[in-house]
């Protein structure tokens, strides 16, 4: 084991290296590119043995990744935002190949307008793709989740590909101290790649991903896929237990920070949860019983765990770093669905924040805490909130002035 200052990107690349991956099909996109450049370098210098190849697009990249996995090698790849969506036809298709491999997505807002900064609309657009999803909130977790992802993906009960999500800029380009596990221990943790009953070999013919012509056959395979995905909950827990024994870091499906015994909780995902932790510390100091629940696994959705952790809470604020236009926050919706038959469910309030990397300030967390209290007292939760300050609005108005928005409106009227 050694300790090093690593960016989230480098940490994710280390995860792939320690997993001893055979094959990395790639395509560049900011803020992910450092991952594939790092891996390309390791293949060049022989630290990794196998192949690195740049495809013509992410659509091709995902196809090559999955086809190599069907042939029987351990595969890693990475992408972000537009790339993830460009590949989306294949992400849906190849999760049904039922072969394990790991894809890192470095979250970045989707166009339009085009941006390089982080939010989760890219990764949540793929929430129903059939890939499992793990979300890191620190650089250390970026590495550790990649390792755990291989173990979960390759488990016979699961056999599904996994996306590990890290936030663009906030993690991808931020250096944090990271413990790099010992190579041999990492190999012992994951084990040799075992293709099980899916591989292409001469004299062992295999027809894979063939067409089906009946709803019942189709449904059977889709149900199998779903049930396998759900198995990943207990497989994650087993993997986390093994991980803790070997590496001394413990990971739960949902990270609970001061949430035990709290009356109010923030519910979040990704790196911005570290901002919430600071706010929780301050609120606790001020005497508020507030905590944080941070989803580490999003697919499968850890429904039972969520219900258990929210039981008896007075109010919960889901802060979504994504926006489904015309609906609202994705995590809010999924959490609400999980709670709909619960007797002791808290009031649930929806907040949208952090789009395109927009900061969420300490003051906003304090304000949210106030609204949770009020909701519990009045038994009337407020309508969904879009976080935005007056200062920001003023700044945008100035830019609109430069862009001549007012003038154009005038001209149109005349």
């Amino acid at each position: 084991m050694k300790r090093k200052l690593l960016t989230g990107n480098a940490a994710a690349a280390w995860g792939a290296r320690l997993a001893n991956v055979d094959y990395v099909p790639a395509f560049p996109i900011t803020p992910q590119t450092e991952i594939i450049e790092t891996l390309a370098g390791w293949f060049d210098e022989g630290a990794l043995k196998g192949r690195f190849v740049t495809l013509d697009s992410e659509h091709s990249m995902v196809t090559a990744a999955a086809s190599a996995a069907v042939t029987g090698v351990r595969v890693f790849s990475a992408t972000s935002s537009q790339g993830l969506l460009y590949a989306s036809e294949m992400l849906y298709a190849v999760s049904g190949y039922r072969v394990p491999w790991v894809l890192v997505n470095v979250s970045r807002g989707l166009s339009s307008p085009v941006t390089l900064e982080a939010d989760h609309n890219d990764i949540f657009a793929l929430r129903d793709s059939g890939f499992l999803q793990l979300h890191a909130s620190t650089c250390q977790e970026a590495l550790d989740m990649v390792l755990m992802a291989y173990q979960i993906a390759e488990d016979v009960r699961v056999r599904l590909p996994v996306i590990v999500n890290i936030d663009g800029f906030y993690l991808s380009f931020t250096r944090e101290p990271v413990e790099i596990p010992d190579e041999n221990k990492a190999r012992e943790f994951i084990g040799e790649f075992d293709a099980h009953n899916i591989s292409f070999r001469a004299n062992v013919p295999l027809s894979h991903a063939s067409a089906v012509l009946q709803g019942s056959i189709y449904s059977y395979f889709r149900y199998e896929h779903h049930l396998a995905a759900i198995q990943a909950i207990s497989v994650f827990n087993e993997s986390a237990e093994k991980f803790e024994k070997m590496f001394n870091r413990s990971y739960a499906l949902i990270e609970s920070y001061m949430a035990d015994g709290a009356d109010y909780v923030f519910i979040m995902i990704g790196s911005f949860a570290t901002k919430a932790k600071e706010a929780v510390d301050m609120l606790r100091e001020a005497g508020s019983l507030t905590g944080l629940l941070r989803l580490r696994m999003f697919r499968p959705f850890p429904e039972e765990e969520m219900k258990k952790l929210l039981k008896g809470k007075k109010a919960a604020a889901v802060i979504d770093q994504n926006l489904a236009p015309g609906k609202g926050g994705v995590i809010y919706t999924e959490t609400a669905a999980a709670l709909c038959n619960e007797k002791e469910a808290p009031f649930l309030i929806s907040y949208i924040g952090g789009l395109g990397g927009r900061d969420i300030t300490a003051e906003e967390f304090y304000e949210i805490e106030k609204e949770m209290r009020k909701a519990a007292e009045t038994k009337k939760p407020p309508m969904a909130r879009l976080l935005f300050s007056e200062a920001e609005l003023e700044a945008v108005r100035k830019l609109q002035g430069i862009a001549g928005v007012e003038k154009k409106n005038e001209q149109r009227k005349n």
């Binding site: 192949r51 659509h59 996995a69 069907v70 042939t71 004299n203 991903a209 067409a211």
Partner: protein, 305 residues
């Protein structure tokens, strides 16, 4: 000594490796070519399929192939070929499988995929000199979805999306030239109605390393509207009229493998297909027929035959 063993008709293997009873239409020209190709390539192959008519060859739990098959998507079959080839190479290098477990990777894609949506992936694969065979069965339209026009549809042909009296406005894209411009290991046009020419070319491709194209004009009774017993006749006419030049590219040179000494008028090919019926009925459209003839004459004019 050359590796090629097929010189005469009787040298062609006739094992009928590809099983019958598939869901293809009677008289399918693509299946006609595939039967012959498969007899030469053999069962140590993995076919990577792009969405199209041939996707229905392997319908769960059946397959006519003795070897392997992977269905991908309309645009990315060549990328799957890359993934499989790379993975097999890695497994052999790392001694996780034996060299005898190796297989030839073969893309099977239609014209809609090959001339259009899948071209980026194919171009990149050729550029990397991927060791694979690319079979494009060209039925000159999006057959599986009901024969709409594609980039491969010929001038004046009537399709589900070009139903006017003048048919398809534009001209067929020259995918062979696009492949040749990439300087692949090999590229050839074939047709199911010329088994010897087909067999020689497929055998050649089989014995070469690198990217190889086998481009098969595939008369399609359903999409072109002709009787299913006329597939061979139409295929022969495509060659005899000069509409479908049989040729190959290797070592930077294009060579015609069959030169029609006296080219038959294109009319003979056109008039027996429903998709060109509007050129003859209710009134003869001399202008369009001449446009088609001119294109063919212009092509062969370049070669001074």
């Amino acid at each position: 000594m050359s590796k090629e063993k097929i010189k005469k008709m009787r040298d062609i293997p006739f094992e009928r490796l590809l099983a019958s009873g598939t869901a293809m239409c009677a008289g399918c020209g693509a299946l006609e070519a595939l039967h012959q190709i498969y007899d030469i390539l053999g069962k140590n192959t993995v076919f990577v399929n792009a969405a199209g008519c041939m996707t229905l060859l392997s319908v769960y739990p059946f397959t006519p192939f003795r070897g392997s098959w992977l269905y991908t998507s309309m645009a990315s079959a060549p990328a799957a070929a890359q993934g499989i080839r790379d993975a097999l190479d890695i497994l052999i290098e790392k001694k996780r499988i034996k060299p005898k477990d190796n297989m030839q990777v073969v893309v099977l894609a239609g014209d809609g995929s090959s001339y259009g949506m899948g071209l980026s992936a194919a171009s990149a694969a050729i550029e990397r000199n991927l060791d694979f065979i690319y079979i494009c069965y060209d039925n000159e339209g999006y057959g599986n979805t009901g024969q709409q026009y594609s980039d491969a549809t010929p001038h004046a042909a009537r399709t589900s999306t070009s139903k006017s009296l003048t048919g398809f406005q534009y001209y067929k894209k020259d995918i062979f030239a696009i492949w040749a411009a990439h300087k692949p290991a090999y590229a050839a046009t074939i047709i199911g109605s010329d088994p010897l020419d087909l067999a020689k070319k497929v055998e050649k491709a089989k014995n070469m390393k690198g990217a190889k194209l086998i481009l098969a004009l595939s008369p399609c009774p359903t999409g072109w509207t002709f009787h299913s017993n006329e597939t061979v006749k139409i295929g022969k006419l495509a060659v005899e009229t000069g509409i479908w030049p049989l040729k190959e590219y290797a070592d930077g040179k294009i060579v015609h493998t069959k030169i029609p000494r006296e080219r038959k008028p294109v009319e003979e090919y056109l008039k027996i297909q429903g998709r060109f019926k509007h050129l003859f009925e209710p009134q003869r459209n001399d202008k369009l027929i001449a446009e088609i003839q001119n294109e063919v004459d212009k092509y062969w004019g370049h070669y001074n035959h």
